[in-house]
């Protein structure tokens, strides 16, 4: 708080001289006159201002209907200025004049070909250097490049455009975000998300440790959704540590800097755009209909025990005497029932303009979206205003305010089968996931004895003998329509900035600037699960259960900085020094209640009369501080040196570990500017090398880790209870990553073709691990955090950009291409962590052996080799060779002492508490690597890695007159995905519905197929093997856009500035061998991509129009 006072004080101090100085002779005098122009006569509404020696406006008025003005003067030494759009500005000294008339001249000068040689500047807050002199690995995306695209979020726009930035959409659900990684994962279970910096202010959401988001992933990643892409000017991605060291502890995962559009002086411009998008869910895997399903089930139940009484299940029998017969004789396509054509409409209105002194830009939009899954919708109201006021040539004041309100209606996710408990694999609990699993022979609605639908949803009754996985699985249509999962988010971000030049910026810069930024972020979650969907008895905690939670967070960030760029007499030298002090302070609190047994399905708020199952509250408070010094030096504009030093302090560490130092150094040599390269300038416009090194850091997510804390825990027999709730983390330190970057910039033919290449070596030390398991005999299950180990991320990236590479008359072509590769390796890890993560193989179906190994890459998949299906049950040499018997290395049949064949076992000797099994005909055949006649953990081999060998994108823009066509591809190559969705839909192990491929299953001796027999809760036909590990390489036509702007001449009559039409086709096709719906699968635990069949990204078509006035 203290610092805020100081800032306010400083603000006042800086503003006051302006007021104090103005009390000078001349006070009370007036001046008057008329403003006119020769052709038009008197000018109405021209601005008349009195300006002082510093060009600061001290008074002003506008001319009346007769072009007349009267102005009360402050000082006769001042000047008077007349300004009117379309006319040349005039300034005259007041002196002793009492009347000054102005005759304005129309601003009709036509610019002849003027060549402006200016260096584009890149600016980060007060630190502004020529773009050519950037010596770090950075890539910028101008939003103009993607104008007209239907992107609902920034990350979508970035996808496939930045080399080294790997973006994967979490799912196609409305309002879910993406997971982003710059240059691979630098942390194993810390966050790998890059820091977002919005107009120089870190834009982040603090997670309260006590607040367990039900959908934390999508919440965190959807962060960017609250910035409207229409407001963005450009996005820069800082990739190497030399650049991100500026952000110190926050920059270890790279930095994405977003600059929003600002107002420009001129008449008020109004721009309105509207986009309509229709979205379709791509065709997923085909699943069985009711008839095929029941047939499968009867076999599946019969096979393990070979008994027809086991397969006598009334729900599969089509027995008319069964009272519920009509409800179990259907062919319901659940997937079709829960999907629909989605739509998005997006309105956006922008007003901008301003005069000499003040510019503004105000924008507001409304977006509403209906997802491709029924019951999902999302609406967003956002507005942003930007006001800039130049008090004088030296003092500038800026206010920004953005407000976003989003309302998400999500699907209610709940593990119905396990009733919220148990150790179920991470199954897909989404509506779509349920639709794929639900028995297709049941009806959506209750049907009477004649098979006529009633108007209530059918729910499998509690009395059924069906397995849990169907009994408790909700009717997905009912779930989508009746259950509620609503998140409302309000986010307000006001930022105030001040900039003051101590010297005339034209001579040299000594500039002070500061900002105060507030981030007010409130979430309100309400969920309700009505009893008509679920099967639980009314005493169950999920019977008419409601949850509601409020999460409020406020953070205040300040930055005070000074930039000094001295003027050297020798113009070869240029130097910029910059120092800054940044502080962050934030508070958040969370309150939630969860109640059940609500009386009705109508009053769905958790505060209604009901049983309270729990109440939660949490508060947190955090602070951090950063001191930053930067310098940029260039000699002759071609020898460039950059240095950064940042010292970060955080409340998250104990004494001795509070501060971290993060230096960064980079140099650049622009070879092409050397005199000896003169001969090549006609084709080589840029050749530069830029090596750099830097340190960046990472801190834990939670506060108060370095304390042993005592917290309230209810009461016992009326005695209040407090108990130690955490272990004190005495040894917790910063996670640091040190990286070397070797970059090269290339420009050909006047930068018509540009390329930049980077080679990097990054090592993360003291990696932070969250929730490290410790023996629970200590009374605690986990250490919340621990530093343990190091990891390398090495790679390269290439980015090519060809601007108007082909130009024939009105036709031109741009081309861009980027690709990158990142290799990840664990260098060293604490034994304890290895032990925690490398649990023993559990000998269960569906599980892959997960391992983290020193010297190996993170994200590796280990499992069995799948060889197909045993064709025969009994071995008969010659005729029935393909039977489950043990063979030696040469493939010869092994015989025991009695001369009998030895059966092939699974887990002979029941290792690690697993079951032992003898393979039979029709069972899955796994490769017996060591030829011991036993499939066990020793037969597990490396099956691949989820890290892509290469990923990137390319695209082209074609222009002809006013028409342009823009398309972009993105690709990943060489990554492996565990297709768990397919595994669960082909395993024939439960009563879940299966994909149609199981119709090819082995049914009798001699069948040749690669799909094993159906076994209900029996056997080992779906062990983690390469059968379900697939190549995730793909090439996606991400979008194809046509943009037509109506010629200006035809618009002028209508007094319209511009009209543009867009047509965008998103996600038009994907070329992939991957059998799942969408090969873009995020990283799960251990960095392994596991596809549980989340809602795939939709295909969509957008029509848009922008009108400017």
């Amino acid at each position: 708080m203290k610092s805020n006072f100081a800032i306010t004080f400083l603000l006042i101090l800086l503003l006051f001289p302006a007021l104090a100085v103005s009390q000078k002779p001349g006070d009370g005098l007036t001046i008057q006159g008329t403003v006119s122009s020769t052709p038009d006569g008197p000018i109405i509404g021209a601005s008349v201002t009195e300006i002082d020696a510093n060009n600061r406006v001290v008074g002003g008025c506008i001319t009346d209907l007769n072009g007349h003005y009267v102005l009360r003067l402050r000082n006769t030494e001042n000047h008077i200025a007349i300004n009117y759009t379309g006319y040349v500005k005039q300034t005259r000294k007041i002196g002793t004049n009492k009347t000054i008339n102005f005759v304005l001249v129309e601003n009709t000068q036509i610019l002849n070909t003027v060549e402006v040689v200016a260096s584009v500047k890149h600016s980060e807050g007060g630190f502004s250097i020529p773009k050519r002199e950037i010596s770090t690995a950075m890539q910028t995306l101008d939003m103009k490049e993607i104008e007209g695209l239907q992107v609902s979020s920034v990350d979508e726009a970035l996808q496939g455009r930045i080399a080294g930035l790997d973006i994967v959409a979490n799912s196609g659900d409305a309002g879910s975000g993406t997971s982003m990684r710059i240059r691979g994962a630098s942390s194993i279970n810390g966050s790998n998300q890059p820091l977002i910096v919005l107009n120089g202010v870190p834009y982040e959401m603090q997670v309260d440790p006590s607040f367990d988001y039900a959908n934390s992933n999508s919440e965190q990643f959807a962060n960017l959704l609250s910035i409207n892409p229409d407001d963005i000017q450009d996005i820069s991605v800082l990739k190497d540590a030399a650049a991100s060291a500026v952000w110190g502890s926050k920059g270890a995962n790279g930095v994405i800097m977003i600059t929003t559009k600002k107002g420009r002086s001129g008449p008020t411009r109004v721009e309105y755009s509207y986009r309509y998008t229709g979205t379709v869910q791509p065709q997923g895997r085909k699943i069985l209909n009711g008839d095929d399903y029941t047939m499968l089930m009867k076999q599946e139940f019969f096979n393990p025990q070979q008994s027809s009484s086991a397969s006598n299940v009334v729900e599969f029998n089509y027995d008319k005497s069964f009272p519920n017969y009509e409800n179990y004789n259907n062919n319901t396509d659940w997937v079709k029932e829960v999907t629909q054509i989605g739509n998005i409409s997006d309105h956006y209105l922008t007003l901008s303009g301003g005069g000499d002194r003040a510019t503004y830009r105000i924008s507001g939009g409304f977006l509403s979206e209906n997802g491709t899954i029924i019951g999902q919708s999302n609406s967003r109201v956002s507005s942003r205003s930007y006001l800039e006021y130049r008090v004088s040539d030296r003092l500038k004041f800026t206010a920004e305010l953005s407000y976003t309100y989003s309302n998400y209606n999500r699907s209610y996710n709940f593990n119905f089968v396990k009733n919220g408990g148990g150790d179920s694999p991470n199954e897909d609990l989404s509506i779509l996931g349920i639709a794929y699993k639900k028995m297709p022979n049941v009806s959506i609605y209750k049907q009477d004895a004649d098979g006529v639908n009633s108007n209530s949803y059918f729910k499998i009754p509690n009395t059924t003998t069906l397995d849990w996985d169907q009994k408790y699985l909700a009717n997905p249509v009912a779930l989508a329509m009746k259950a509620k999962n609503n998140v409302k988010n309000y986010r307000t971000l006001p930022t105030f900035r001040l900039q003051y030049d101590f010297t005339d910026p034209a001579v040299q810069t000594l500039r002070y600037s500061m900002y105060v930024s507030f981030d007010i972020n409130n979430d309100k979650t309400s969920r309700f699960l009505p009893s008509e969907i679920v099967n639980y008895s009314w005493s169950d905690k999920h019977f008419n259960s409601a949850e509601s939670g409020d999460h409020e967070a406020v953070s205040i960030q300040t930055d005070n900085n000074i930039a000094w760029s001295p003027k050297f007499s020798n113009e070869d030298h240029s130097l910029l020094l910059y120092g800054s002090l940044q502080t962050t302070e934030g508070r958040s609190n969370y309150q939630g209640i969860n109640s059940y047994g609500l009386i009705s399905n109508q009053a769905t708020d958790a505060s209604n009369q009901a049983y309270l199952s729990y109440e939660e509250t949490g508060r947190s408070h955090w602070r951090s501080m950063g001191l930053l010094a930067r310098m940029h030096y260039s000699y002759k504009g071609r020898y460039i040196f950059d240095g950064t030093f940042r010292r970060d302090g955080s409340t998250k560490f104990g004494d001795g570990n509070k501060w971290g130092n993060f230096p960064g150094i980079s140099v650049k040599w622009i070879v092409s500017d050397e005199p000896f390269m003169k001969t090549t300038t006609n084709w080589l416009s840029m050749l530069a090398f830029r090596p750099g090194w830097g340190l960046a850091g990472n801190q834990p997510e939670f506060e108060y880790l370095h304390f042993s804390r005592y917290g309230n825990d209810g009461s016992y027999a009326g005695m209040p209870v407090e108990v130690p709730v955490t272990l004190q983390l005495k040894n917790l330190r910063w996670e640091t990553s040190s990286s070397f970057n070797y970059g090269c910039d290339l420009g050909l033919f006047g930068d018509k073709i540009q390329a930049d290449m980077n080679l990097y070596f990054k090592r993360t030390n003291d990696m932070l691990f969250k929730f490290v398991g410790i023996p629970n005999s200590s009374g605690f299950g986990v250490l919340n955090y621990q530093n343990a180990g190091s990891m390398d991320n090495n790679g390269w990236e290439i980015n090519l950009y060809a601007n108007k590479v082909i130009k024939v008359g009105d036709f031109s072509v741009d081309f861009r291409l980027n690709f990158s590769n990142s290799m990840n390796k664990i260098v060293q890890l604490d034994q304890k962590i290895l032990d925690t993560y490398n649990a023993k193989y559990n000998y269960l179906n569906g599980s892959y052996l997960t391992r983290i190994q020193e010297g190996n890459s993170f994200g590796s998949i280990y499992g069995f080799k799948y060889l197909g299906v045993y064709q025969y049950d009994k071995y008969v040499a010659g005729s029935q060779d393909d039977a489950p018997i043990a063979r030696n290395k040469k493939g010869e049949v092994l015989l025991n002492e009695k001369g009998e064949t030895v059966p092939m076992y699974f887990n002979y000797g029941r290792r690690n508490g697993g079951e032992q099994y003898v393979f039979r005909g029709g069972d899955a055949k796994y490769q017996d690597m060591n030829h011991d006649g036993n499939i066990d953990e020793l037969d597990i081999v490396y099956l691949g890695n989820s890290n892509p060998l290469m990923n990137g994108g390319f695209g082209t823009t074609l222009r002809y007159k006013n028409l342009s066509c823009n398309f972009s591809f993105n690709f990943r190559y060489g990554n492996k995905i565990v297709n768990s969705a397919r595994m669960l839909s082909e395993n024939m192990y439960s009563t879940n519905n299966q994909s149609t491929i199981v119709n090819w299953r082995w049914r009798k001796d001699g069948d040749i197929t690669s799909i094993p027999r159906a076994l209900y809760n029996y056997g080992f036909n779906w062990l983690g093997s390469d059968r379900f590990v697939e190549d995730g390489s793909f090439l996606r036509l991400k979008y194809l856009t046509f943009n037509y702007s109506v010629p200006k001449q035809s618009l002028r009559k209508l007094r319209i500035d511009k009209v543009n039409f867009y047509l965008t086709l998103n996600n038009l096709f994907v070329l992939t061998k991957y059998s799942g719906v969408d090969p873009e699968v995020g990283y799960g635990s251990f960095g392994v991509s596991q596809d549980f069949g989340q809602t795939p990204r939709s295909k969509d078509l957008t029509l848009g129009i922008t009108v400017g006035l």
Binding site: S539, Y710, A717, V721, Q728, G781, N838, R910, G913, G914
Partner: protein
């Protein structure tokens, strides 16, 4: 110029120190260790945490699962979870959830924390006298001993930890201690606790819900009985039996006063539940609700009902001498077939009004907070009876055992005559009688499996209990084979613990199950 430099560096120094202060944030809704342990109330709050830990689902559920599930009292009920099913089908693996001992160690850590820091409070809070400290320490020591006693009975050898876990600087990887070492610690702690424990606390909820002298003695008696120190067991039981404030509730009122209202005159130590903080979910889930048409996750096995050579309540008249109209039958089991077994009545069913002249309780909606009784007077009587039978120094031992059995027997068999010594003249028959009486009296109270285990410990033969649990096992050889190995009667250590703690060694039976059991 020099001055300016001095000023500047002074300012910088000031700035940096104040920065460090600025970066020192303490939690708002919690107290940190450095500020804790200042007052008596803070000390009692942590002590209350020890009890609070016991009433959480994790502990009570395990007291029930470890104490009952594998015994002849329990069969599969309605909606039983997989882990329990595995235990019932004698295929316990180290990944079974009930092999997780964490909830007990969490209570042990609270006790250790209290015992470590509470002595410091004496110097900080004048109201907190040495004697107050000692009475509270007696409670913490007893709770810790009770936890270890459960662990030893379920796992045999377990890590013995008596220091609190405070920071990550400690090495948490500890090996198992032997059962002997743990039992010695338990006995030592209980003897210390006995010196300082209060006889009562004034209020009923505290006297029954917290550790009193009687509670310490009851636990100690149970420990001695387990440890086959029968004379010591008798001594402890006699201390309790000598307390006139304890009195057996009349037979007709047992359901109402002991199980429904709780804190009855015969109660010694029971865990207190209340509607606002903690429901007794374990009991309501496993035994069921009174109003529910469904039974709980557990049921009473059908094989105990038809008259056979051995059932606790119904047997062929010629084979046994006890009355066939024991009212504990209807207060324990409700013979309504629903699912695979019979509905459990004790704790769960309290909606009978009058059956067989026994007045039962009118329903309360919902009965979600029954106290969980750890020790009550009849238990102590029968513990003493068991110890006396084992001592069997002369006939008087057996006779006094019979008279103890008669006390609990007669109150539940209102019209029957007392059992006569000539029908149970030797150690063997008396031992069986005591077992049967314990079975009837303490059915579903988390005692049965440990009663059976005491037989195994005495006979050093796992098959000695097959006559009780045999009927429950399927014809599968494997199940009987497994139940014939003593090591298999203890729980495995949970796999996740073995994985992260290299010093832990899996319990013998579970390291590698014999390959001969294949096929």
């Amino acid at each position: 110029m020099k001055k300016i430099k001095i000023y500047l560096s002074a300012l910088l120094l000031l700035g940096l120190t104040s920065c460090n202060d600025w970066l020192d944030l303490k939690p708002e809704s919690e107290t940190i260790l450095e500020d804790y342990w200042q007052s008596e109330s803070q000390a009692t709050d942590v002590l209350a945490g020890c009890y609070r830990g016991l009433i959480k689902d994790g502990c009570v559920e395990r007291m029930m699962v470890w104490g009952e599930l594998r015994s002849d009292n329990v069969a599969e009920g309605y909606n039983m979870n997989e882990d329990m099913k595995k235990i019932l089908s004698i295929s316990i693996t180290p990944t079974n959830g009930y092999a997780d001992w964490g909830s007990f160690y969490s209570v042990i850590n609270y006790c250790n924390t209290f015992l470590h820091y509470a002595p410091l409070v004496v110097n900080r809070d004048q109201n907190f006298t040495e004697s107050k400290l000692h009475t509270l320490e007696a409670e913490a020591l007893t709770i810790r001993a009770l936890c270890y006693f459960y662990l030893v009975r379920a796992f045999r050898d377990v890590p013995l930890i008596t220091t609190p876990s405070i920071s990550d600087a400690t090495d948490f990887n500890l090996p198992k201690s032997t059962e002997r070492e743990v039992l010695d610690q338990i006995i030592k702690d209980l003897i210390t606790a006995k010196q300082y424990a209060k006889p009562n606390f004034g209020t009923e909820a505290f006297t029954k819900g917290r550790v009193t002298q009687n509670a310490v003695s009851a636990i100690l008696a149970d420990v001695y009985l387990w440890d086959q120190q029968y004379a010591n067991c008798v001594t402890q039981c006699d201390i309790i039996l000598g307390d006139n404030s304890l009195e057996l509730v009349k037979g007709n009122n047992v359901v109402k006063e002991v199980f429904y209202a709780g804190n009855s005159t015969e109660s010694i130590f029971e865990l207190q539940f209340d509607k606002n903080t903690q429901w007794n979910n374990s009991v309501t889930n496993l035994y069921g609700f009174y109003y529910s048409t469904n039974m709980g996750n557990w049921s009473y096995p059908a094989f105990l009902v038809p008259t056979g050579s051995y059932t606790p309540f119904r047997y062929q008249p010629a084979t046994m001498n006890e009355s066939a109209s024991d009212i504990r039958e209807i207060t324990s089991v409700n013979y309504v077939v629903n699912g695979k077994g019979y509905k459990i009545a004790k704790y769960a069913l309290m909606d009978y009004t009058v059956i067989n002249n026994v007045e039962l309780v009118t329903p309360r909606s919902p009965s979600i907070t029954p106290n969980w009784i750890l020790y009550r007077l009849s238990d102590v009587m029968l513990m003493k009876a068991e110890a006396l039978v084992q001592l069997n120094r002369d006939e008087t031992d057996l006779k006094s055992a019979l008279s103890l059995v008669n006390q609990t027997y007669l109150r539940s068999n209102l019209t029957a005559d007392s059992l006569k010594f000539n029908k149970y003249p030797d150690k063997g028959s008396m031992q069986d009688l005591v077992m049967r009486e314990r079975h009837r009296e303490l059915m579903f109270e988390g005692k049965r499996w440990f009663d059976l285990m005491r037989i195994v410990k005495r006979t050093k033969d796992a098959t000695s209990i097959l006559r009780y649990i045999g009927p429950k096992l399927t014809g599968d050889n494997l199940q009987i084979k497994k139940m014939s190995i003593i090591d298999a009667l203890y729980m495995p250590i949970q796999q996740s613990q073995i994985d992260i703690n290299p010093k832990l060694i899996q319990n013998p039976f579970y390291v590698n199950i014999e390959s001969s059991t294949s096929n």
